[in-house]
Symmetry: D2
Subunit: 296 residues, 4 copies
């Protein structure tokens, strides 16, 4: 299974009563499916997965599956803190139609998360999973790091097909590519590092920005693949301000606010998260202006 | 509700098939109840709460409630990442007999966890909780800090009665005491800082070490309260090596290993956690030797 | 050599042309010498030692030596990045009258600063020093930590008499006391942790606050020594706000501003440091008001 | 002044008595000058500048100047903690023949190092410097970060011509390029990030690795410039293991050991640094083997 391209980690809409809103979800996916995105990720960190319970997750997956054509990879985030809960969530996601799962590192017991522990955890999950598994390292949020050495060992598992690396250290991305087999899918986890990651051998990205600006993100991917580095770099530079706003600056509230500006209607974040303050919305509006995507 | 004294955050026993073992739990609690502990905390971080699902949690709470006399405070950890899940867990804990709840800060979306967000989250939980609420700050595990300014604001809520602070910065503990009302219960979260925390005005501690060595921990508390600082300091020093081993060094696997050495029979940690390696067990055995508590 | 008591790490005055001002230095020391301070430290971090060249340092030491009676310990900061520069600075300080030297850890090459490297560095310095040596760990500024294990080994050197620990982790202070001989002088490095450090066995402190408020700091020390913990804790609490302002909040610019408010006339910080902004001066004035020390 | 290309930050040789060895320095430079390096940096962090006094620095600069042809840029590190010492060191370097200076951020008083403070410091230095100034950000060693906003403001100063950025976050490198004028020289500070930095618009690198392997590093630069990304990526990958060893892993002791293996004879590091342990030397020897550069 090759995961080359641009994947959007979409948010989960909530309604005014803090309930998952499947109608809004279906409509937003339908709109994304009119564009060039390679595939979608639901229930990732941008999907507020840690704020959603198992029943809600089932319904989100089922709804998304129906809305996504089978020729576009449909990936579901299923990482949990315990190995057994991760296995259960993975099986449920597969039962409900996931093409692959994206499994965030457990990270609560930081002192105990050694390379051996990670290898055992992911091996158990991959052994049990009916669908291919993507590793997921997001140190800035989890507080733990999945070492290159662990990835290198896990990459030989037949059911582990790739990794999303959300860190910005480009030498690490390069080492992840070098220390895994050629068909192992290393995916960039942030738009700000996407172009450089492609340069050092990543095959794609899971980019919040691509939910907001699918065409430019996909174009950046294609330009790089075609060896048009000057145009790719120009596109990268044009995208950087929005990439930064959606990344460390505004997070999930920023992603939802940007999508709402564009008419996607994805509602508000779930508490304790709060909607982006108006000053942030204004900054997003300004940064989006040059792309001529905001409806009049 | 005054929470002055020594509270043991007890582990959750699992059996050989990675299931919660209520029989072992009941027996272990019965043994603790023969000693001087002020009260117990179940489903805290040492209870591996993040690895346990809601149904298991209900059974742990019910079992513990039956085993703990009503004159000893029975506290249940109910912190979740979302506000609504925290409220639900809190209500269930109260329904199943908790005297108070200990609510860890949410921490996944680190960039968004401002003072205002924490105040809103805890206010919603405390408003909805049928039982008193304890705040819980454990920066080393959550990666976020509950600022003194947030605690100071929350301490005026009639249903928020105290805080467990697990950090070792003693000036912060002192400021927490100074910036909250006199009847607000500031509890130390680690045995290594317990004595100093009492010196600057904390009224007790939630100490993993006290599950292993209840008598010495309680004696340290009493000596300090009686103004016997020389004896208290001597007891503190005697406890430090074990405090360090159970704290940053060995974590939950260490706590379970130590208790098993003493005959408590609390089983193994839940994966991805693994049992303490033999070298660690040997170190615990040696550190425990001077207390003459290991059965022959 | 026993270093029990309260030591003020005094700032180095600069004049309007960014030159060391020895007249101001002499006058300020004379005023401190009318009070209860146990001794003084010059050219520590609060003395802006890293901003001062060797010739200036010689003149500061000579001037201070003349102004300090021989019955009060006169300590000079001589830590440098290279071992040989530290030895040279130490010998010069001794030649110019230092009673002891305070040697900050080297810290530029962070990856190489192992326990063995620290032990070798300090052993070389202590072997060569004509006067007793104090270790100095200030992780927040140097970015490296002098481990308890290194201190424990170095404490057996006949010419290493103690340690200034500027970190706030009280368990570490306790371990430093426990793992060194009874006559090894563990000194707290910040006023905010001073009282708790005394409780766990420190014998004194090197406190910027004590340059500003010598009497209350000395009183806190004496009350603790006399076992009057209630009064000591009350004094600690009264001092905390000023301790925080002079510590992490305002640094050297804050110390100079506070002293200038009290009429010490210690000039401005050396660039790149800048004088404390007026809002900070106002906060200091307000915090000092309750001590009735500001001249009318 | 355009600084496009590959610059080697060379080490400073010390003899068996811990003295600067100018004979070894001259010989090593002569050998480097037979190769393709664009220019040299002396007294940078790899030159152990923080371990060297001012008189030694003068002699190193004079000796290097004589050994380096005037058509290759000769850059001298002159960053100090105080602004006035930095100005003095900069003027001395210019007097002794430096073509440009590389000025590391001051970093001791971490809490006070704001954007405004950095702008004032560098402006004063650049105003006073007879030669062009390069900014230098090395957060991993200094513990402070020179923000993009500060660089953007400083880049308009007519005497500030560029920046060495040693961090590995590629999005930051990209932003540094985007937020400075087209003729501002952004240089990568580590070989592990060099190729990706070139991809996002850096014009060259100051690479410890290029002292050891000048030809491959220069070739990587030229391939990228020529748009031969496949060959460039292959060269990058071949260089990564050595880049990692010389970077975070072994530091200055590693650089000296590698050069000694190749016959450069640069002596040992200055204490407290110690020579690389034999296991490290063996790892370097193995990593160098594929380049066929070690003399038989």
């Amino acid at each position: 299974m090759r995961l080359s391209g641009v994947f959007a980690p979409i948010p989960t809409p909530f309604d005014e009563s803090d309930r998952v809103d499947l109608v809004r979800l279906r409509k937003a996916i339908a709109r994304w499916m009119t564009g060039p995105l390679t595939g979608l990720v639901v229930l990732g960190s941008n999907g507020e997965a840690v704020l959603i319970d198992d029943d809600e997750a089932d319904r989100v997956i089922t709804t998304a599956r129906e809305a996504i054509p089978t020729d576009r990879p449909f990936i579901v985030g299923t990482g949990r803190e315990s190995t057994q809960a991760t296995v259960r969530a993975t099986k449920r996601a597969a039962d409900h139609g996931a093409d692959a799962v994206l499994v965030r590192t457990p990270g609560f017991f930081k002192g105990q998360m050694t390379t051996d522990v990670f290898v055992r955890h992911y091996t158990t999950v991959a052994d049990a999973s009916p669908v291919p598994v993507l590793l997921y390292n997001f140190t800035a949020l989890t507080g733990v790091n999945l070492p290159v050495a662990a990835v290198s060992r896990l990459a030989t598992h037949p059911n582990i097909i790739g990794l999303k690396e959300s860190g910005g250290d480009i030498a690490t991305v390069s080492e992840l590519v070098s220390s895994t087999p050629a068909d192992f899918n290393v995916l960039a986890g942030s738009a700000a590092t996407f172009y450089a990651a492609l340069c050092v051998g990543a095959v794609g990205g899971v980019l919040a920005l691509s939910a907001v600006l699918p065409e430019p993100c996909k174009r950046l991917f294609e330009l790089t693949g075609a060896g048009c580095h000057d145009e790719a770099l120009a596109m990268h530079r044009q995208l950087m301000p929005m990439a930064r706003l959606l990344g460390s600056a505004y997070g999930v509230p920023g992603l939802k606010a940007a999508l709402n500006l564009l008419g996607y209607d994805v509602g508000v974040p779930r508490p304790p998260l709060t909607p982006l303050p108006e000053a942030g919305v204004a900054a997003l509006r300004e940064a989006l202006a040059q792309f001529e995507v905001i409806p009049a």
